[in-house]
C-alpha cells in the first residue's frame, strides 16, 4: 500500500473508532470539548519549573486511554510525526538557563533542563488530549459542540469541509499515483519532471470534485449552516463525567 493510501486509511480509521459503541463516545461532545480545553489550560498553567505538577496531570490521558479502550501503541504510531516536533519546543532552554537547582546522583541539573522537560511534557499532554478528543468524537459532533459554543457557522463549516476535502484530495492523489506508476513501472517515486503537471492536475481535479460536492449540498437545501443531528440534551452521566474531571483537575492544580 502506498503512503497516500495509508494516510487515507488513517483518516477512515479515525472516523471508525470515533463511531464505536463505547460509553466514552456517547458522552456529549460539548462536555468532552470543554474537558479537553480545560485540561490543556490547566496543564499549560503550571509554572515552568513545576515538572512534578505537570507530570501528575498525566492521570487524565492515562485514564481516558484505559476507559476508552483505546490503543496507546496505535496512538503513538499516528502521532509519530507531531510528537518529535512538540518535543523540540524547549530544546534550547538548557543553553540559556544554566542555573543549577538540584543534584541527582552527583549530576547537576540546571533550571534549563527542568523547564525544557516541563515544556515537553506540557506539549505531549496537549497533543494526547486532542487526540483523545478526536478518537472519541466524530468530526461532525465536534463541530456541533463548537456551534453550541457560538463559534461562527462559517468557521465551523470550514473545519468540517476541510476535513472532508482532505480525504477527497488524498483519494484523487492516490488514483493519479496508481495511474502514473502503472505506466512508469521502473520508476521509483515520481520523476521530478512530471511533478508540476501531476500537482496541477491534482489541483484541478480536486477543485472540480470539491465543487461538485458543494453543488450536491446546495441541491439538498444547504444554506450555510450545516445540519447537525440535534442531540441537545445533557444527561446525568454527562454532567457527572464533567464534574468528576473538574474536581480532579482542581485537586491536581491547587490542593497537592
Amino acid at each position: 500500500m502506498s503512503k497516500l493510501d495509508n494516510a487515507l486509511c488513517e483518516i477512515y480509521h479515525m472516523d471508525e473508532i470515533a463511531e464505536r459503541e463505547q460509553w466514552l463516545n456517547h458522552i456529549h461532545s460539548l462536555i468532552k470539548l470543554v474537558i479537553t480545553v480545560c485540561f490543556i489550560t490547566v496543564t499549560v498553567s503550571f509554572s515552568k519549573y513545576d515538572l512534578a505538577g505537570v507530570l501528575r496531570m498525566g492521570v487524565y490521558p492515562i485514564v481516558v486511554f484505559i476507559f476508552g479502550e483505546l490503543s496507546f501503541r496505535s496512538a503513538l504510531k499516528r502521532l509519530k510525526v507531531i510528537l518529535p516536533v512538540v518535543c523540540l519546543i524547549g530544546v534550547f532552554n538548557p543553553f540559556f538557563d544554566r542555573q543549577p537547582i538540584m543534584e541527582i546522583g552527583g549530576i547537576m541539573v540546571t533550571a534549563g533542563v527542568v523547564s525544557m522537560l516541563t515544556l515537553m511534557v506540557k506539549g505531549i499532554y496537549s497533543v494526547f488530549a486532542s487526540y483523545l478528543l478526536i478518537a472519541t468524537t466524530s468530526i461532525e459532533k465536534i463541530c456541533y459542540a463548537l456551534r453550541l459554543l457560538h463559534v461562527p457557522a462559517v468557521i465551523v463549516t470550514q473545519i468540517l469541509l476541510a476535513y472532508r476535502y482532505i480525504s477527497l484530495l488524498l483519494e484523487e492523489a492516490s488514483r493519479m499515483m496508481q495511474a502514473y506508476s502503472l505506466r512508469a513501472p521502473n520508476q521509483k517515486g515520481v520523476h521530478f519532471k512530471v511533478w508540476g503537471s501531476l500537482v496541477g492536475q491534482l489541483l484541478l481535479k480536486s477543485i472540480d470534485r470539491a465543487n461538485e460536492v458543494y453543488e450536491s449540498m446546495l441541491l439538498r437545501g444547504y444554506q450555510g449552516e450545516f445540519p447537525y443531528a440535534a442531540k441537545g440534551f445533557f444527561r446525568v452521566r454527562d454532567c457527572v463525567y464533567l464534574g468528576v474531571w473538574f474536581v480532579i483537575f482542581f485537586c491536581l492544580r491547587v490542593m497537592i
Partner: protein, 246 residues
C-alpha cells in the same frame, strides 16, 4: 388533466459565448412520466439536466418547474422539488455514514428528528439497502453507492427526479436492481444516458438530442427501434433489439 411539471421554452445555452451547446430546446414534462434523454457523448445531456436545477445559469429562454421560473431568486423553492442524482456517486455522498448522508436534506429543511428518521428508513426501503444504514461510505461498492445516492434525494420527497448516467460503471446485477428501483419510483423522472437498454426498460418517452437540438421526442419503443435514426446521431440500437443471430 395532466399537470405540467417541467417546461422548457426556446432554451439556448452556451458555456463559451461563441458556440452554443444547446439550441432552442422546447419540451414539456408531465407528472409521473419517465423520460429518457439520449444522445452521444458530449451532446449536452448533463448540461440540460443542470439547467433544470440551476447549476448552470445564464441561459436564454424560459425554464419553469411547476410554473415557477428557474431563476436565482426562486432556487430555494424549485430545488426543494427536484432531486438530482450526480453521475459520480462519490460527489453525492460526502458524510461518513449512510444514515447521516440521507438525513442531510431533511435536516437542512428543519424537519424534526423523528420525521427525519422516518424518511431515511423509507428511502432505504425504497432502494432495498436497509442493511447499509450504518455503513461507512468508503467501505461500500460502486453499486451500493449508486443506490445510496438515489436514496439521498428520496428523503427530500421530490416531485421530480433527475438522473445523470445512473447505470454507468454498474455490473449487470446492480444494473437490474437499479432498473427495478427506478421503475418503482413514482415521481417524474428524467434519465440522461447512452445506455439505451436501460432507457428501454425504464422510459416510455424518449428525447433524442443531437448537435444541441431535440431531434425526436416521442414514444420510447418507436425511437429506440429506429436503427437509421439512432445511427445517424452516433448511437446504436439497444442490444436486446439488435437480434442475436442463431
Amino acid at each position: 388533466m395532466n399537470p405540467i411539471q417541467i417546461s422548457m421554452e426556446h432554451v439556448t445555452y452556451s458555456y463559451e459565448k461563441s458556440c452554443p451547446i444547446l439550441k432552442d430546446i422546447t419540451f414539456k414534462a408531465n407528472k409521473h412520466e419517465c423520460i429518457g434523454l439520449i444522445g452521444a457523448n458530449g451532446v449536452g445531456k448533463s448540461t440540460l439536466l443542470k439547467l433544470m436545477v440551476g447549476l448552470n445559469t445564464g441561459y436564454e429562454g424560459q425554464i419553469c418547474i411547476e410554473g415557477i421560473p428557474v431563476v436565482k431568486e426562486n432556487f430555494p423553492k424549485t430545488r426543494e422539488k427536484i432531486g438530482y442524482v450526480f453521475q459520480d456517486a462519490d460527489s453525492q455522498l460526502f458524510m461518513s455514514r449512510v444514515y447521516d448522508d440521507l438525513a442531510f436534506a431533511p435536516r437542512n429543511y428543519k424537519l424534526p428528528e423523528p420525521e427525519v428518521e422516518k424518511r431515511v428508513r423509507k428511502a432505504l426501503e425504497m432502494v432495498h439497502i436497509e442493511h447499509l444504514k450504518d455503513k461507512q461510505i468508503y467501505k461500500m461498492s460502486g453499486g451500493e453507492k449508486k443506490l445510496a445516492s438515489i436514496a439521498t434525494i428520496l428523503t427530500m420527497m421530490p416531485d421530480v427526479i433527475l438522473l445523470d448516467e445512473p447505470s454507468i460503471a454498474l455490473d449487470p446485477k446492480n444494473r437490474r436492481t437499479l432498473i427495478h428501483v427506478l421503475n418503482q419510483l413514482n415521481p417524474l423522472k428524467i434519465i440522461a444516458s447512452h445506455d439505451l437498454d436501460m432507457i428501454l426498460d425504464t422510459c416510455s418517452r424518449v428525447i433524442l438530442l443531437s448537435d444541441g437540438k431535440i431531434i425526436r421526442d416521442g414514444d420510447g419503443k418507436e425511437i429506440l427501434s429506429d436503427r437509421e435514426l439512432l445511427e445517424a446521431h452516433g448511437l446504436e440500437l439497444p442490444l436486446c433489439m439488435q437480434g442475436i443471430p442463431d
